[in-house]
Structures are given as structure tokens and as C-alpha cells.
Symmetry: C2
Subunit: 410 residues, 2 copies
């Protein structure tokens, strides 16, 4: 049997990503149903947006050359030939000739002939027929061109981009009402351990309710979790369940078992069914993590302790899942809060440690404090009582009380 050395987190992620490909299947969805989904096509803008030149200000549309030398002392007088209304077809507007101006609101279409806008604040209306301009403008002043938002033929989004609310707005602005996206990644969730019971059943002393699959399913965000239930400490049943999961889904997450037997079987079975690339991470908690590839699909063995399970998901599984989902760029992105550490946190050199943190706001001082939660990683209460996680880099032996730290919010 191959023996493994625990890997640094960054190395393990790089190795895993080198062995994971985006899923092949795509689907086409209405743009308004695609929030958080990953584009499977480049988006090329089909038309100029907004498609007509418009004013960026309330004011008067003019020929810039007419405003030459205009000032408070020497205003230029122009004849008002009309008023642009919001939404009006610019082809129905009178052309602006020398000596003429047309009233225009912000967003109003520029009339023919006009090439600049003088802001309302720099004008004074004489009567209904004419307006005095107090400022000179250059051609294009306060005018947004017909392609100022998007240009026809422009590459707006690349395949692999995850659609945000503003992107949905951009697609609709371009008239793109459906998009080709990667289908949701299906992730099988398997909990192992003879001590586990599903929560709808009564438990007796010695048994514990299965929670890891529930937590993982809710951490998946855009992906679809498929709970395959609990597999007791039985090697053949575990093998059959892993094989079924690999066949029916795009990625498999195993959690537990905490017994020696179950731990060994998972490693054995993954070596037998595929290739084990990582066994052990140099992080705490989370060391006993396994990354394998079976039939080109990632299969990850997570620790059974709920705290370790959640941390390994966030730090190791999330980038693997992102790659499998088709995401092109994996930006380092956490929801962070800056807070003052209330007590010194100790850590072993050479491994990264993650410490559960509760935030406490002292309203009179306005200070946010970060209090370590001193729970066991066997206990989900450790995270339920925490607001976030403090990362202690492997080069640190401690972070002293009083330090201002960044807490990654759960």
C-alpha cells in the first residue's frame, strides 16, 4: 500500500484542481432564473446599448460650436425649438440648427444636429422662446454615445463566469433573455458510522444524530446535494454505496466514520476503485482528509467531526466544487470582519490552524471583539456558538491577545 505524507493546503488544492474538469453538460435557462449559475458560453453583445445617444444631464441640447465664449458676463442666446421627452423616438424630434437649442432631460435622446448638452444650472430661460447659456461646452459634453453602455460585438462575459445580480441586469440591457449555463453539479453525500441515526428516528444512549450530510448539503450553494443516507461500518456496503454515488453524480463527499475500521476502509476502497492523490492535510482541524479520483470524478473523504468537516469543506472542497461547476477564476473571497482578539491563540508551527471565533460588539466603545470558542471539534456547538473562523498561518506559534485580526464569517 502506498503511504502518504500530509500535504500543505495550497499544494493539496493545486493537485486536486489539476485532476478535476468542469462537468460537460449544459442547459439553457431564462436569464432571470440564472442567478449564481456559471456561464457555459461567451456572451457577445448583439447590439449597441443603449442604441441612441442620450443626455447625461438635465439641460439643453446644442451645437457645441454655438457656445464658443459663453460666460456669465457674455451669455449666448439660443432659440428653443422644442423639448425632448423621456422615451421619445429621436427621429420625431426637430433637428437642432445654428442658433437653436432643445430642452432635454437626463437620459433623453439627443436630437439630430446637437452634439453637446449645456447643464440646466448653466442656463437661464428667457421666456418660452429662448435660453441664455453661461458656459462653453465641447462636442460630446454630457452626451453618452449610442454604444456607451455596451458595444455591438463586444465580449462582455466569458464562459466560466458566475452570474451575479448586476450581470443579469447587463444581459437584460443587451436584450439577452436566455443563457447557456453549466447544469448544476450533483454532489452525493454519504455519512459513515454505525453510531449514526437519522434525526427523524428516536435515539438511545450510544447513538448520535447524523448531521454532517445536512450541513454539507446547505453549504453547497449552487450545487445539488443528494443525500445517500448513513452507511454503517460495513466494508461491502460502503463499496457499493461509493460505486452507486460515482455512477449517479458528479462528485462524492464522504464524512466520518470516526471508527478506526471505517477510516481504513474508506482509504482502502478509494485506492481500489480509483486513485488516491491526497491523504492528510497539514491543517488543524481537518488532518484526516482524503482526495481521490474515481472514473474522473472527485471523491473526497472528510473527517467525521462536524467542525473538521465544515472547515475542510470551506478550505479544500469549495475550490474543487467551483472547478467542477465550470468556474474559470477562483478568487480568494471571504466575508470578513475585523475584530480585536480577546485572548492569545496558540498554534503548532508548520500547520495551519483554524479557530472558531465569537464576535462581541462593545456598543459603548464601538469595538468588535473576537473571542475564541473553546469547544471540541467533535461538537457542532463549537461552530453554532461561533460567528466565524480565525486562520492562524503555519509560520505562527501564536496570535497575541489584543491583536486586530480578520475573522472569516461563517
Amino acid at each position: 500500500m502506498r503511504t502518504f505524507q500530509a500535504k500543505k493546503l495550497d499544494e493539496a488544492i493545486a493537485l486536486a484542481l489539476a485532476h478535476v474538469a468542469p462537468i460537460a453538460e449544459t442547459e439553457t435557462l431564462p436569464t432571470t432564473d440564472s442567478l449564481g449559475r456559471v456561464l457555459a458560453e461567451d456572451i457577445i453583445c448583439p447590439e449597441d446599448v443603449p442604441g441612441f445617444a442620450r443626455s447625461a444631464m438635465d439641460g439643453y441640447a446644442v451645437r457645441a460650436s454655438e457656445t464658443h465664449g459663453a460666460s456669465r458676463e457674455r451669455p449666448v442666446l439660443l432659440k428653443i425649438i422644442g423639448s425632448v421627452e423621456m422615451g421619445q423616438d429621436p427621429r420625431t424630434l426637430p433637428s437642432v440648427h445654428a442658433g437653436e437649442a432643445c430642452e432635454i432631460p437626463t437620459g433623453g435622446p439627443m436630437p439630430d444636429g446637437a452634439d453637446a448638452v449645456v447643464m440646466l444650472e448653466e442656463t437661464e430661460r428667457q421666456n418660452n422662446q429662448s435660453v441664455r447659456l453661461f458656459a462653453e461646452v465641447t462636442p460630446g459634453a454630457h452626451v453618452l454615445s449610442a454604444d456607451s453602455d455596451f458595444q455591438r460585438g463586444e465580449l462582455v462575459f466569458r464562459a466560466g463566469h458566475k452570474l451575479r445580480a448586476v450581470d443579469i441586469g447587463a444581459l437584460i440591457a443587451m436584450g439577452i433573455l436566455s443563457v447557456k449555463i453549466y447544469r448544476r453539479v450533483r454532489v452525493s453525500l454519504i455519512s459513515t458510522g454505525s453510531e449514526l441515526v437519522e434525526a427523524e428516528h428516536a435515539i438511545r444512549p450510544g447513538q448520535v444524530r447524523q448531521i454532517n450530510s445536512h450541513i454539507l448539503r446547505h453549504l453547497l450553494e449552487g450545487a445539488q446535494g443528494i443525500s445517500l443516507g448513513i452507511v454503517p461500518d460495513d466494508r461491502e456496503r460502503l463499496r457499493a454505496t461509493i460505486q452507486h454515488a460515482v455512477r449517479e453524480s458528479d462528485m462524492v463527499l464522504l464524512s466520518g466514520g470516526s471508527s478506526v475500521g471505517a477510516r481504513d476502509w474508506t482509504l482502502d476502497l478509494l485506492q481500489e476503485l480509483g486513485e488516491v492523490l491526497v491523504h492528510g492535510l497539514q491543517i488543524k482541524p481537518g488532518k484526516p482528509t482524503i482526495f481521490a479520483v474515481v472514473d474522473k470524478k472527485p471523491v473526497i473523504g472528510l473527517p467525521g467531526n462536524p467542525v473538521s468537516c465544515v472547515l475542510v469543506f470551506e478550505k479544500f472542497v469549495r475550490p474543487v466544487l467551483a472547478r467542477r461547476s465550470g468556474l474559470r477564476v477562483l478568487l480568494p473571497a471571504h466575508r470578513l470582519a475585523s475584530a480585536q482578539l480577546t485572548q492569545t491563540v496558540h498554534s503548532a508551527l508548520g500547520r495551519e490552524e483554524f479557530v472558531a471565533i465569537r464576535l462581541r460588539l462593545d456598543e459603548s466603545l464601538g469595538t468588535l471583539y473576537a473571542e475564541p470558542v473553546l469547544g471540541h471539534s467533535n461538537n457542532i456547538s463549537t461552530l453554532a456558538r461561533a460567528d466565524g473562523i480565525l486562520r492562524v498561518p503555519s509560520e505562527f506559534e501564536e496570535i497575541p491577545a489584543g491583536a486586530q485580526v480578520w475573522v472569516e464569517l461563517l
Copy 2:
């Protein structure tokens, strides 16, 4: 007519929150369907969790007093009376008496009589009958008590807590399979402006596709958006739509119109129908924001420019929505990336500015760069091209090129 002075963002939020109450209605949902929802009840733990003492290590359950003086040189020999299996009912286990030890896996229930566990690494099995212990342990060593995760009667979550994935795990661990939560906040979305057309219709020059309601609906997260469509620049139709929206929902967001008339009507109508508390924010973009209360419900007038609309939502509307949703604590929480600014950003003293930023990773150097996106706030492309937002505080006139900055990811 009352006149208003533009308010600082913090002051405006504080004033708005003082006038917004959580919605009254609650519902009961299965715990596994409550991710992201806000608890409407305190959660008191109904039982000790896990409910039995268990081992935190693989090893031998013993009476601590028996290990007195044990060392590599002077091991203590104990008789093995059995082996604990995962999930086994501890009442079916033999009691551990003086001179005895029972094999136990991590998570296994402690047998009667034993009060400590000696780690496997500190033992050597002699044969199937006895084990040599090389270390002394104190009572409770490597034992997690019956209430080590949660204690019966303990206040675990307060009403107003937003449920995260780990909290769902904690609730299930306690056997709490349904929870009372605030029902989803219903937010009416109204777009105003005669130039706007819904995207499923053809547009001609002068018209633009309505996008703000779509963007806002996708920013709402846990809340339910109700799109009330486009209201052209018509005061009576706007009044009727606002009145309908206040009747039918918990909160109203108006965006646009960009014409002078529509802007004035929104302010007029809100003064007529309720109380206007904020008119104008000292931020850029986003100045022309209105906060009003009509029939005790928040009604917010957002700028029509999509960039301003999104920023005012994120900075001003989000805390108001959180309070209306029942959230107790509003933690400052952004998804942040640290990056190096590529060009100097200028800003006016006395107002906060928000600059759209594109992130670019130089893979050879490993440096993440923050490039300002120089688009007009009229254009959704400004945000579609951006990865995040840089906040320039009101006391800054510039942030120089080369500065390391925090970018709030979109």
C-alpha cells in the same frame, strides 16, 4: 414643503432603523428548509447532547486512579474485559472495575465505572486478555461528557438569529426538526420612467430596457421580490401604484425616474402619503435617495442610474431590509479581496465615494491588482465589468496608485 439636507450614510441608516420594525408574521418550517431564514423564537436545548459520555480518542476506558504512576518504565497491567462498538448502548457494556480496562474507539460510549481514556499510542496489548498502560491519566481525560455538545435548558440561539448551515446541523443534533421563523419579507419593486420598456418587448431608439427591478429582485436574497412593472411619468398612476404596493407588501423600492418630473413626484407623493425622513445621501453615486415611512412600512426611492441604484441598495437598503426581516444583530460583513490599486482614485472631501473595481491576477507575481472601471453610473456595464467596489471614506481626497486596498466583492 420641508427642505432636506443630504445626510451622512451612517446617520441615514440609524434614522431609518429607528423607524423600521420587524414584520409580525411568523411561520413554522422543517429545520432542513430554513437556511438563511431568521428565527422568530429563542431556541432552548431540550436535552443533553450527545446524551452519553463518549471517548475523544481511540484507546482504553479505565478508572483513572488505576493508572497512578504508569510510565514506559513502569507500565500498569490491566485486564481487558471487552470492546466498545460504535453506536453500542452503554447499558449493555460490562462495568469497568479496579484492575480492568475496556477497548474503546473515538466517539464510543463510556462504560460504567470508567472515568478516563488512555490513548492507544500509550498502550501495548499483551494478548487478548490484557493491556499495558504507559501513561497516567486524570479523571475525565479524553472523555467528552454527556452534555459536552449542548446542555439541556441552554439558550442556544436567540430570536433574530439568521440560520446558517452549521446552525441547521446544531438544531438537528438537538433533535429540533422544525423552527418558528419570520415569514419572508415581501418587497414591492416599482420602476418609473416613460423611457422604460420590459425586455420581452422590442425597443426603438429613445427607449431603454428596464433592468433595475430585475437587479434588485436578485439582490434581495431571503426576501421575496414582487415586480410591479413600469410606471410611466404620470403622477396619478404613480400614486396608485405606491398605495397598492404599501397595502400588498412589507417594504417598497422605487427606482428612477430620471426625468425631473418623476423625481419631484416621488418626493411629493411620499410626503403626501407618509413621512419623508431622508432626502439625499452624502455618497457618490447615490445622492438622490429618499427614505419614507408610509403606514409604518419603509418606502425607499432609489436613483434610476443602475450603478447608483445597486450601491444605494447595498449600503442603505440592505440594513433596512435586514431589520424588517427580523435580524437582531447587523454585523459589518462584506466579501473582501485585498488588492493593489493600479491608478490613483480621486474623491471629494465630505462625501463617501464608491468606485467600481476590476480585479486582475498577475499569476507570475501572484499579485492581485485593483483597476478602477471608468464607466458612467448611467451604464450597467460599469458594474458588469467590475468585480467589486472600493469605498473611499469622506475624509480622503484620494487613494494613491500602489496602495493596498480592500475591495468589497459584488
